[in-house]
């Protein structure tokens, strides 16, 4: 029972952290892209 609990905790924490990190990475890049686009006044159309 202890190991079941520990196992579930560990695997779902790992999966959750990975999903979270992916979302954060995507958000960060999107923010930078937006900033870059704004800087150029929309000179470069999004590809």
């Amino acid at each position: 029972m202890t190991y079941l609990f520990l196992g579930y905790t560990v695997i779902w924490t790992a999966i959750f952290l990975y999903i979270l990190s992916l979302h954060r990475r995507l958000e960060a890049v999107r923010r930078e892209l937006k900033a870059l686009d704004a800087e150029r006044g929309g000179a470069e159309a999004p590809r």
């Binding site: 079941l4 560990v10 695997i11 790992a14 979302h23 990475r25 995507l26 999107r30 870059l36």
Partner: protein, 214 residues
Amino acid sequence: MRFLPWVAYVLVGLALWLGLVFAPPEAVMGQVVRLLYFHVGSAWNAFLAFGVVLIGSVAFLRTRAPRWDRLAAASAEIGVVFTTVTLLSGMFWARAVWNTWWRWEPRLTTTALLWFIYVAYLILRSSVEEPERRGTLAAVVGIAGFLDVPLVYFSARWWGGFHPSAVEMSGSMVLALVASVFAFTALYAELLGLAVATRAAEDRLARLRAGARP
């Protein structure tokens, strides 16, 4: 595609309920059998992910289209995550049932080696700047690594070992297992889309930056 995250997370929730509440404890292992549902699901995801790495690698070498490289890279990353989950859940299960954290047994050996191969693959990727070169070298390692896997598996099998491949399961346990495999497959698809999109955005950012500095 917009519904994919919802499908994935609802399925995962459902699988969790089936595995934790709906399915009965097993006669010999007791409650610990509940680890197996997600152990099998993540192992399936890991192999699926590394298969996709192989496909992406071969396609990248043939076509030179960056999107294949992004697919391989994203899938390798997810594969490593699920290999880690497989190993960890397996270790907790083994501690409870075998009374040891680890056994040198074919599938364990193979999975551990897979982990090392694809971690090396990811480290290799992080140490090359130039995208085309990175894709090419990574593809070669992706292909060689995948070819290594069956050899490791059979070697480890003849080395001797034991893995429970067929546990006596009741109908509701099979249902929980199948649900977890489906849920994890959907989760894989969702994460793959996310990871590929991240890499595409990163590549675009790098291109824009390179263009800004002539």
